[in-house]
């Protein structure tokens, strides 16, 4: 009677395009929501999808419909106590109520927000939209010290270890066919002739002719046999070529002041900034390492836990951290192999004498080795000596060095975007 079709294996994302259209149309809303989510989220789950709410009125599809007022008749089921002529006080706010549409279609109406889920991928996509790590392209061309061998087809020359047997034999076979086809055809003809002649009665046989034919056959056979089974030029080799691979490793130095002047709130802001940077690097490089350096009067390389959560007191010498960073680079992360990113967070406090040392460290050693060095100052106060020195660095390296000031956690995302904005070519 009916056809039965199994469609379960058909594509199930028929609505994917429509969903994309929706996201595209409400791009601005979603971006705003993503930005907000980022500031309110705790750090550990920054890598998840997000629930996005859009005011319902912004996405409604208008149609003509009747408004409040006039007189409406409505039929309701389930009468319990009413009789004709009963008079009921009008419910507050509700009003007339629509006609009996009776379907679930008006679900979701009356809600203030249209809420839906975007995936982690989409979340990050929106988060990092328009952002680009500076100098990424440059390094990819420059840092071509490492190579990768990749297959590049078949060649006629090569070392015996690279012989491609299938291709070689195929070529040999083709050559053999090409060289012997004519002879084989002749051979067949001669054999047919011989058969015809030998069928004739013994007395009438032309023995000389038969002998002649047999000699020819023999010669042809020999000729065929002389065609070599495998010749030098049959041999095919796999071709491998070396391609320079752009360095896909990145290391990120998180440098933070943990002196007494930095409180937990300030550290939290710094942390968010580092996380953003980390996520961002992760998306751009195959492998991303992180080195945490904290400092007060002296610097120390620590693990993440200690970096963010242990407390220290004391004064501040920024250059100690920069020195340590430089040492670590020289020891473990050669700039020819690694893309080096520095991110420094501080409240701007430093020993006045030290700031000029920092300037020298940065301009002469660190910034030339780094892809990018960003400095954020988390303080509502006026800038101090360090900021002024750093401005000098910025003037010297406008492409590699960036600095911004952050006051509250809501600033992080805008500042981050500011720092890593796509530079128009």
């Amino acid at each position: 009677m009916s056809y039965i079709v199994d469609r379960r294996l058909n594509a199930k994302n028929k609505s994917a395009v429509n969903r994309q259209r929706f996201l595209r149309r409400y791009r601005q809303h979603i971006k705003k929501a993503v930005g907000e989510a980022l500031t309110h989220r705790s750090i550990t789950d920054i890598n998840k999808g997000e629930k996005i709410g859009i005011p319902t009125k912004d996405i409604s599809e208008p149609t003509f419909h009747q408004g409040q007022g006039g007189s409406t008749d409505n039929i309701l089921p389930g009468n319990k106590e009413f009789i004709t002529g009963d008079s009921i006080p009008r419910p507050q706010g509700g009003g007339g109520g629509g006609a009996g549409e009776g379907n679930a279609s008006d679900q979701g109406e009356g809600m203030d927000e249209f809420v839906f889920q975007i995936t982690q991928e989409e979340f990050l996509e929106f988060m990092f939209e328009d952002l680009e790590l500076p100098n990424l392209v440059k390094r990819q061309l420059k840092g071509s010290e490492s190579f990768k061998t990749v297959r590049a087809g078949i060649t006629n020359e090569g070392s015996p270890g690279r012989i491609n047997i299938v291709r070689s034999l195929r070529a040999a076979n083709a050559r053999r066919i090409a060289l012997t086809t004519g002879k084989r055809r002749k051979l067949k003809e001669l054999e047919n002739q011989k058969a015809l002649l030998s069928e004739i009665d013994d007395t009438l046989k032309d023995k000389r002719k038969i002998e002649q034919i047999e000699a020819d056959i023999l010669q042809l056979r020999k000729a065929i046999k002389r065609v070599p089974w495998l010749d030098d030029f049959d041999l095919k080799y796999n071709l491998h070529v070396k391609v320079p691979t752009p360095s896909s490793k990145a290391v990120m130095f998180c440098v933070m002041d943990v002196s007494g002047s930095m409180n937990q709130a300030t550290k939290d802001i710094a942390k968010r900034f580092f996380i953003l940077l980390y996520l961002f690097l992760q998306r751009n490089y195959e492998r991303t390492e992180v080195v945490f350096i904290r400092h007060h009067t002296s610097a120390k390389e620590v693990d993440e836990e200690e970096f963010f959560y242990s407390r220290e007191t004391g004064g501040t010498i920024v250059s100690s951290a920069l020195k340590l960073m430089n040492e670590i680079i020289d020891e473990r992360f050669s700039p020819s192999e690694w893309n080096i990113y520095g991110a420094q967070a501080s409240d701007g406090d430093n020993w006045n004498d030290d700031s000029s040392t920092c300037f020298e460290m940065l301009t002469q050693e660190l910034v030339p080795k780094c892809q990018y060095f960003s400095y954020i100052e988390i303080t509502p106060r006026n800038h101090q000596a360090l900021w002024e020195e750093y401005e000098g660095v910025k003037a010297a390296f406008p492409d590699e060095f960036a600095m911004e000031q952050i006051v509250s956690s809501a600033d992080i995302y805008p500042v981050f975007r500011e720092l890593f904005q796509k530079k128009s070519a």
Binding site: S2, V5, L76
Partner: protein, 505 residues
């Protein structure tokens, strides 16, 4: 009762589905149900969500609103707020029914009976569907529409196409001919004539707006007194034929939306009947299966549980109440018609002298074929059903301090209840009656619409303004809307909005 049941477990297989379908088909044939051939497609729940989001159309053009719909469904489904429909059936030939793989065998059988024999025969038999839609070519037409819009997107950009679609969707309910009999959609012809038509149309439109003065000015003014000569109910049709600034491809999009609206129009008008008919048949067919010993008691329990939750009507004061359940109303009415035919009471003989005691199958088929919700209720809603559902009518008049109960399910109220309920299913009352009234052809080319109020009900102002901006985008010149209560203008909208006081024209 000698026969053994087809299956005893709740697992389904393709062979079992085939067997059930064959058996159900046999019984349906005995009842003389005339159906299109059906195509049963087994799909997963994700695919069901997709199908749901595209209003059940197997292929549709792309639009963000379907994406919104999809996100909404996905969210409610994943939160468990909403179960998915067990089935979706498409009015096409062959009629396509979707079955979800998660369902049990009993549910699959229920769906087959409901969709492949219930809905299917309704599509084939009801006069609205046979005159307004063409089941043979709808799939082709949808494909044509999809490809055409994709072509437009490539040529003119997604945003341009989206803008036109947005505007058309806002007016979709006004893209149907309510009274005129339409030409059925035919995709093959459509494609062939499309290019020709767009050229021709453009010429015609240009002709309407010709600015070269006529030879005889007196004659000209006479002629141009009024355009359109009569008010037009089909706004999209009017736009398609007369909007001065639309490009040919934009006209074609207007036409596509209009055609699709027309295709769905009968469904909007026959919800109660369609569902009632399908429920009646799955109920009857599966009970017959049981009577013949083809299904087990377990099967029947599962079926009845599903059936009764589908036709459950929460009372008006329940938190679950969201209007009258069309499944309940339809099913009860269908069952009651059968009862009136088979076991009429004195009351029934009084109310339905011509059907009481007649052949129930013929009567039911006649009712299915020749009515829409409004007229069906007006004709067949019996006092029994009204009592059963305990219907009552409330009148909310803003001139009165209180809401009044104007009729309940008693002798004096039956007639009024029936009329009022039928009125609720009259699309003409439910949707504001808006028509194209005039175009200022010689002046500023502004378009004036007229809304005739039903029981003094005004238009919702915000939505109305938004729709007018869409209409303005299509029309290209000023758009006005007057809302009339007994020839008196009570509301006036215009787009773009007037800077200061609105000059009355």
């Amino acid at each position: 009762m000698k026969k053994s049941p087809i299956s005893t477990t709740s697992e389904w297989t393709f062979e079992l589905i085939e067997t059930y379908d064959r058996e159900i088909g046999k019984i349906a044939e005995e009842y003389g149900l005339d159906t299109y051939r059906s195509q049963i497609e087994i799909i997963s729940s994700e695919q069901m969500m997709d199908a749901y989001a595209s209003v059940g159309m197997p292929l549709g053009y792309h639009h963000w609103s379907y994406g919104k719909q999809f996100l909404n469904i996905e969210r409610s489904y994943s939160r468990g707020q909403m179960g998915l429909a067990y089935e979706i059936v498409i009015n096409s030939n062959p009629s396509i029914a979707y079955l979800m793989e998660e369902n049990t065998m009993a549910m699959q059988a229920l769906v087959i009976a409901h969709a492949c024999y219930g809905h299917n025969s309704f599509f084939k038999g009801n006069y609205l569907f046979t005159t307004w839609t063409d089941a043979d070519s709808i799939i082709d037409y949808l494909l044509f529409a999809k490809n055409y819009l994709e072509g437009c997107e490539q040529r003119h950009g997604i945003d341009e196409v989206e803008a036109i679609l947005d505007s058309c969707h806002a007016l979709m309910n006004y893209g149907v001919d309510r009274y005129k009999r339409p030409h059925p959609i035919s995709a093959a012809e459509e494609r062939m004539r499309q290019a020709e038509r767009s050229e021709y149309l453009q010429k015609q439109v240009n002709d309407l707006w010709r600015t070269i003065p006529k030879l005889n000015p007196a004659e000209a003014t006479e002629e141009s007194l009024r355009f359109p000569e009569e008010p037009q109910e089909n706004l999209l049709y009017f736009i398609e034929k007369n909007a001065p600034l639309l490009e040919p491809w934009q006209r074609e999009i207007v036409r596509i939306v209009r055609k699709i609206a027309q295709y769905f129009y009968p469904q909007r008008q026959t919800q109660v009947m369609n569902e009632g008919w399908a429920c009646f048949w799955h109920y009857t067919l599966l009970n017959d299966l049981y009577d013949r010993g083809l299904v087990t008691e377990g099967f029947m329990l599962e079926f009845l549980e599903a059936h009764s939750s589908v036709i459950y009507q929460p009372p008006y004061d329940s938190p679950h109440y969201s209007g009258i359940n069309p499944y309940t109303l339809g099913f009860k009415m269908m069952i009651d018609i059968r009862r009136i035919c088979e076991k009429p009471t004195a009351e029934d003989r009084d109310w339905f002298p011509e059907i009481a005691g007649s052949n129930w199958l013929d009567t039911l088929k006649f009712a299915m074929g020749n009515f829409k919700d409004e007229s069906f209720i007006l004709q067949y809603l019996s006092p029994t059903v009204m009592r059963d559902m305990k219907l009552f009518c409330v009148r909310d008049d803003d001139r009165e301090p209180n809401i009044n109960v104007s009729a309940i399910h008693d002798d004096s109220g039956y007639q009024a209840l029936r009329e009022k309920l039928a009125g609720l299913y009259n699309l003409g009352n439910r949707e504001p009656n808006i028509q194209v009234y005039s175009v200022d052809v010689r002046g500023d080319r502004s378009l004036t619409l007229q809304h005739l109020q039903h029981q003094r009900r005004p238009l919702a102002a915000n939505a109305c303004e938004e729709v007018l901006t869409h209409l303005h985008r299509l029309w290209g010149f000023d758009v006005h809307l007057n809302s009339l209560d007994d020839a008196k203008v009570t509301q006036h909208f215009q787009c773009p909005p007037a800077p200061e006081n609105i000059p009355e024209d």
